[in-house]
Amino acid sequence: MPANTSEYIMIMPFIFLGAAILFSIVIEISTKKSEEILPWLSIISFFIVALYSLLNINNQAVLFNGMMEVGGKSAIFNFIFNLGAMLITISSIEYIKKYGTYYGEYYILIQSSVLGMMIMAGSNDLIMIFLGLELMSICFYILAGINRKKLTANEASMKYFLLGAFATGFIVYGIALIYGAAGSTNISFLITNFSNLLTNIIFVTGFILFLIGFSFKIAAVPFHMWVPDVYQGSATTVTGLMSTTGKTAAFSVLIIALTAVFTLKAPNNFRNYFAVISTLSMLLGSIVAISQNNLKRMLAYSSIAHAGYMSIGLAAGNIDSIAGIIFYLAAYTFINIGAFSVISIVEGENDSRIDIDSFSGLNSKSPVLAALMSLFMFALAGIPPLAGFFGKYYVFVGAIESGLTWLAIIGVLSSVISVYFYLRVVVYMYFKEPIQNFQIEISPFALTSVIISSALVLIFGIMPDLLMNIITSVIKL
């Protein structure tokens, strides 16, 4: 059946962003002023797509012979991706110049990776998932090493590429096995026949390989080895993008792929898998983060721990916990982008000033920056009434509804541990005198992005319903 015009209209945001990418390439080739034009072009296109997705949440449809799904939760995800990418792009404008690595492809790669994420979240077919994943990941591999003259960036890029390719291998192999067993890669088909297929050992093996591959992508223990080095070595804004929207995209796929498991009321062995990786991630992430002095590395371990909290929702697998994960992802995206943007403002040349020492006495240097950074730290620690708290709260509610009280208890215990290292940043900023003597040049763009993030963190904390009502209205199991 040939696709009709209305289907092309439904995927307008994809076409629009694709066009923006092509247009950016043309600009990059044809004019020397691309450095001035490209960021704004990206910001505007991200903003338009984010807005479009937000307004079209209720236009749900399955398109192209069941290859893609638009509207509903994929629209929410698109909103998160684009808003996140927009904030990161705003922070990048000055940072990337200061960092001394302006290359035209930077913004184009960000745009392409976002397109990849959108395809992942909107796919209804394993092949589409794979396409989106590759588009996103390859852009990330390059972005991680965008500063080609820096050794650590090269290391990050190489490590990310090798391990990422390895994980993708798992996913492809899993998809192949699933196709071999089921005879289809269509997710709706797989969901309908899930209980029959579970008796097929080849299908189960394929599905497990698929889950393991995505456990790499969400940075869950024991598949987390790449995270600290990659997050530390990459440019700070790139880390901000990978750790938030990248994780969100991987979770969006897991939610799609596990829908069958969630709806199936029968005993579910995948629950144990997620319960185990979430326990390991929470504990390892929180405990190892304590001893980190490099803030980016600390946030990398914190990102592992947060993957653990979110996986609690996957283990619980009921409607509240899935809604909770999506809320959590949105909250985490804005908190983390804010935190990384603050780091990118304070950061100096050649990886200087990303140690916790550089933040000592920040309050006396820039009270605004210190206050906003503490806001993000408290939000990550899950102190109410900030967005991070509600993310955890919704997920814990889901867990307890599914009888996983023990997992919620482990979750809160590791939250207590994590409070220590988040507070440590606050301690340095407020309770200590400046150790290093340097002036902070606050770029107005980056500050804008930080302020928007903090406003979102506060708004979603005080009125979580604004976002939660949208999420619950479109989620069905």
């Binding site: 919704y394 509804e401 809160v412 507070l423 407020y430 309770f431 200590k432 009502n469």
Partner: protein, 508 residues
């Protein structure tokens, strides 16, 4: 239902005040100080209006204001008071302006942020006492940690960082387990009644129906959180650090109000929500309370540092409160509520007085002083009155609370033994020992340290203005406690009646 906005105004005033403070110029210190003081004074006046509107004969929660806040979780902004919460709200609004006034000289760095934190802290504490939704309660309970953390961490003593983190982590640990219990309770309610709810008034009906084995766990999760806050022996180790390192204002608020949040939580949540479990654990907790009374007193006795001495005396005094609560008789619980107020006033005043001489000499060691009666007679008199009140001399406030608690625990059916009372009573004697001994070493005798002649000056008008209102109430409660007892009597009876309904067969 009749909506009454007075509590909401009371809550909003300090929040708005704290935001407005941010717009002042850091250099205008005295303007900021006056502004903070005035805001907290307005809050006090509003709480007095609330007191006027409150009807102590009505056993229901009053002055209720309820607005649906988070629809997806059925959480409401739901505030209201009974006698117990109202008296603690009054204590909070009474102590806060005095505390702010007391810091006019001591806090000279970052005055803006200090005033901001104090006002936010006041709002948090008021929110804790007036929430009728467990979730809302939890939010205030946690949010209040942040300003206190900054107060200890920025304006504290040498080991302030250690103390502030310890304070934060201890409280967080307990309260996060409570969070799991809160969610569990709400989910249980949704299974029972079909409605996911954290409304306290609804949960009062649901809580006692939980099976005993699970109820015990739920009780312990709540109890742990409150026990850390009180603090009950052996969870008290954060308290001396926090008190000693905090600036005077921090210590006063900590002792005056923050610790009461723990005991308030026991009365408001632990007992009515899980009555069977509460009765089950009553003797165990009372034993801890009695150990706390004696241990706190003994440790106080040997402290060389005045502030630490007062801090440990808190452990002892709060032990009385906990004993009073878990004896579960009208007398003992009335005594416990009055003792919460007493401790807020007396210990708050003791910290203020230690702060007064510390500001002048920068020494808190008892050894440094001696014979200061000759140098600062007014100060010495005030210290005498406050110490005697803390000891529990008849005619002053401490006596009323301790006597009622001892009387109530003596005839308590739940505890059913005299030994608690006998051991607890010894705590009163020890209190006399450690406070009078300190008083003797500091105030009487010859002046050994000649520096004191230059350093010490007697109380100035501002300091008198801070302490005299407290002393007024110390004497008032001591001579005519009915004013305060009447306010809480019906509420206490209601709570105990509810417990006895659910544990009737259990007690036999």
């Amino acid at each position: 239902m009749q909506e009454n906005l007075i509590l909401t105004y009371l809550l909003i005033i300090p929040i708005v005040g704290s935001i407005l403070v941010l717009f002042f110029d850091e250099e205008q210190k005295s303007v900021i100080r006056w502004f903070g003081f005035l805001i907290s004074l307005i809050a006090f006046i509003i709480s007095l209006i609330a007191y006027k509107q409150f009807n102590p004969q009505d056993p229901q929660f009053q002055l209720i204001h309820k607005v649906l806040w988070i629809k997806s979780l059925n959480i409401s902004y739901h505030v209201g008071v009974d006698g117990i919460s109202l008296i603690l709200i009054l204590l909070t609004t009474f102590i806060t302006p005095l505390t702010l006034l007391s810091t006019w000289k001591a806090i000279d760095k970052n005055v803006k942020m200090f005033t901001f934190s104090m006002l936010l802290l006041e709002a948090g504490m008021l929110g804790v006492f007036m929430s009728l939704d467990i979730f809302l309660f939890y939010i205030f309970w946690e949010a209040m940690l942040i300003p206190m953390y900054f107060i200890i961490g920025i304006w504290g003593g040498e080991r302030r960082i250690y103390a502030s983190i310890k304070f934060f982590l201890y409280t967080m640990f307990g309260s996060l387990l409570m969070l799991v219990a809160i969610i569990w309770l709400a989910v249980y309610a949704s299974n029972q009644t079909g409605m996911f709810t954290t409304n306290l008034i609804d949960l009062y009906k649901v809580g006692p129906t939980i099976a005993r084995s699970i109820q015990n766990w739920m009780f312990l999760a709540f109890f742990l959180s409150f026990a850390i806050k009180v603090p009950i022996f052996p969870l008290h180790t954060w308290l001396p650090d926090a008190h000693v390192e905090a600036p005077t204002a921090g210590s006063v608020i900590l002792a005056g109000v923050l610790l009461k949040m723990g005991t308030y939580g026991l009365v408001r949540f632990c007992l009515p929500l899980f009555p069977q479990a509460a009765v089950h654990y009553a003797s165990f907790i009372s034993i801890l309370a009695v150990i706390g009374i004696i241990y706190g007193a003994l440790v106080s006795m040997v402290q060389p540092d005045m502030k630490k001495l007062v801090a440990y005396s808190s452990v002892s005094h709060l032990g009385f409160v906990v004993l009073g609560i878990f004896a579960m008789t009208v007398e003992s619980m009335q005594g416990a509520v009055i003792q919460m107020i007493n401790h807020g006033l007396s210990t708050g005043a003791l910290f203020l007085l230690v702060g007064v001489i510390y500001e002048r000499t920068h020494h808190r060691e008892i050894e440094y002083y001696g014979g200061i009666a000759k140098i600062v007679p007014v100060y010495s008199t005030l210290l005498m009155i406050v110490s005697l009140s803390s000891i529990g001399l008849p005619g002053l406030n401490g006596f009323v609370g301790e006597f009622l608690i001892l009387l109530g625990s003596f005839k308590s059916q739940v505890l059913n033994s005299w030994w608690y009372t006998i051991f607890a009573a010894s705590g009163v004697i020890f209190a006399a020992v450690y406070l009078l001994w300190m008083y003797q070493r500091v105030v009487f005798g010859e002046v050994k340290n000649t520096n004191l002649f230059q350093e010490l000056t007697d109380m100035n008008k501002r300091e008198l203005l801070v302490l005299l209102p407290i002393i007024l109430f110390i004497v008032w409660i001591g001579i005519y406690p009915s004013t305060f007892l009447k306010l809480t009597e019906v509420s206490v009876q209601t709570i105990l009646q509810n417990i006895s309904i659910h544990t009737f067969d259990f007690l036999k």
